[in-house]
């Protein structure tokens, strides 16, 4: 199922994002808020986002090699990227996600 999503998104060039947060921590909340604003402004509907709480899924944290929290994983399109932190550096986030080139 995971693969299917990836394939589909690669074809469509859709951004597939996974945000790993740790519970309701301040930094996690900030990251969610920042990402929401950013998506509303720049992405409209052309993205897929899943928010995962590693407190509830500790096994997943290990499987996905999460060390830093919050961590935003760009699964697709390639190259894969991991954005750590509150995502408050908007320019850097946009650039890393490939939304802007500058």
């Amino acid at each position: 199922m995971k693969k299917k999503v990836k394939d589909k998104s690669t074809i469509e060039g859709k951004l597939v994002l996974k945000l790993y947060v740790s519970g309701m921590s301040y930094k996690s909340m900030q990251a969610i808020e920042n990402l929401k604003l950013l998506c509303d402004e720049h992405l409209k509907d052309s993205f897929e986002l899943e928010i995962i709480d590693i407190f509830k899924n500790p096994k997943l944290a290990s499987e996905q090699h999460i060390v830093f929290s919050p961590s935003l994983l760009k699964k697709s399109p390639l190259p894969k990227k991991t954005l750590v932190g509150t995502l408050s550096d908007t320019q850097k986030v946009l650039k890393t996600l490939g939304i802007t080139t500058e």
Binding site: Y20, S22, S25, K27, Q30, A31, N34, I54, F55, P58, K59, A61, S62, H65, I66, V67, F68, S69, P70, S71, L72, P79, K80, K81, T82, L83, V84, G85, T86, L87, S88, D89, K92, V93, T96
Partner: protein, 296 residues
């Protein structure tokens, strides 16, 4: 203050022969211990042996968190030394978690914490009821990261958390230029610091161990030679010797300077023990090819 601590300080036997003697019973139970030294001095082996011995001799399950080598590499490296990582993992007595960080994929976009690491560690510890933990080498986290101050405070928090969790943790650290470890971890691990050393003097390589610090406990203060050999677990354990230096025989004091392919022993033995025969026996076990005895 020292006295009251001594009374309450509980110890975890390392199972490493000789080390338990010079530490008067082992490492401080439930506390972080820093093992530092330059590359190739045996830090990882030491840590691994502490875990394996804990499982096999003291029924204490252990978590090995590797920041460098993959579980597969670890298994292979230690297989030759007789550590059966695979089997112990299958028995749920050992858990290896490989913290792999792809620097090229990481971008820092604001403040973060190490909650991911905490959660993984917590999960690993709880899933097997671990009493011993190894973090090898946590300083790898620093490479390529921008916000050092933040990482430092997070690592300090991690050590405090491990202490609260009550697990005896070995943290390995590579020797820095002006400090014991590159990131100055010794400032955060204040309970017990062990320094390993590997020196070549006159073409003779010797591994040595020194307890730099052991809060609340008396300990041997010398540099103690030890061996890592191909027989692995028992080998390294058997040859971490206390003091095997001077031999007193018929009122003469001898000093053994070279054994086998080269280990340098010196120090003193209590005169009354007359240890000559025992020493010889020991050397036999040690299957050395040659050694010199020098009369002092």
């Amino acid at each position: 203050m020292v006295n009251s601590k001594q009374e309450t300080l509980r110890k975890t036997p390392t199972g490493i022969n000789g080390l338990d003697e010079i530490t008067n019973g082992g490492f401080p139970k439930g506390r972080p211990i820093l093992i530092c030294g330059s590359a190739g001095c045996g830090k990882t082996l030491f840590a691994a042996q502490f875990l394996i011995k804990g499982i096999t001799d003291y029924k204490e399950p252990g978590v090995f968190m590797s920041f460098e080598e993959s579980p597969k590499d670890l298994e292979q490296n230690f297989e030759s030394l007789g550590f059966d990582f695979k089997n112990l993992q299958a028995q749920k007595k050992l858990r290896i978690d490989h913290v792999r960080i792809e620097r090229s994929e990481i971008e820092e976009t604001g403040e973060y914490d190490l909650e991911g690491l905490f959660i993984r560690l917590n999960y690993a510890i709880d899933s097997i009821g671990a009493k011993r933990v190894v973090l090898d080498t946590i300083e790898s986290l620093f490479s390529g990261m921008e916000n050092m101050a933040l990482l430092r405070s997070e690592i300090r928090r991690l050590f405090t958390w491990l202490k609260e969790k009550g697990v005896t943790t070995i943290i390995t650290g590579e020797r820095g230029e002006s400090s014991l470890t590159r990131q100055g971890l010794e400032e955060y691990v204040s309970d017990c610091v062990i320094l390993l050393d590997f020196r070549v003097i006159e073409q003779i390589a010797t591994r040595r161990l020194r307890i730099v610090k052991y809060r609340g406990s008396t300990h041997g203060t010398n540099e103690y030679p030890f061996l890592i050999d191909e027989h692995g677990i028992s080998g390294a354990a058997r040859y971490l010797l206390k003091v095997r230096l001077q031999i007193i025989h018929r009122n003469y004091i001898y000093r053994i300077t070279r054994i086998g392919s080269g280990i340098l022993y010196w120090g003193t033995l209590p005169r009354q023990q007359h240890p000559y025969n025992r020493q010889c026996g020991h050397f036999k076990n040690y299957s050395c090819r040659s050694f010199c005895i020098e009369q002092l």
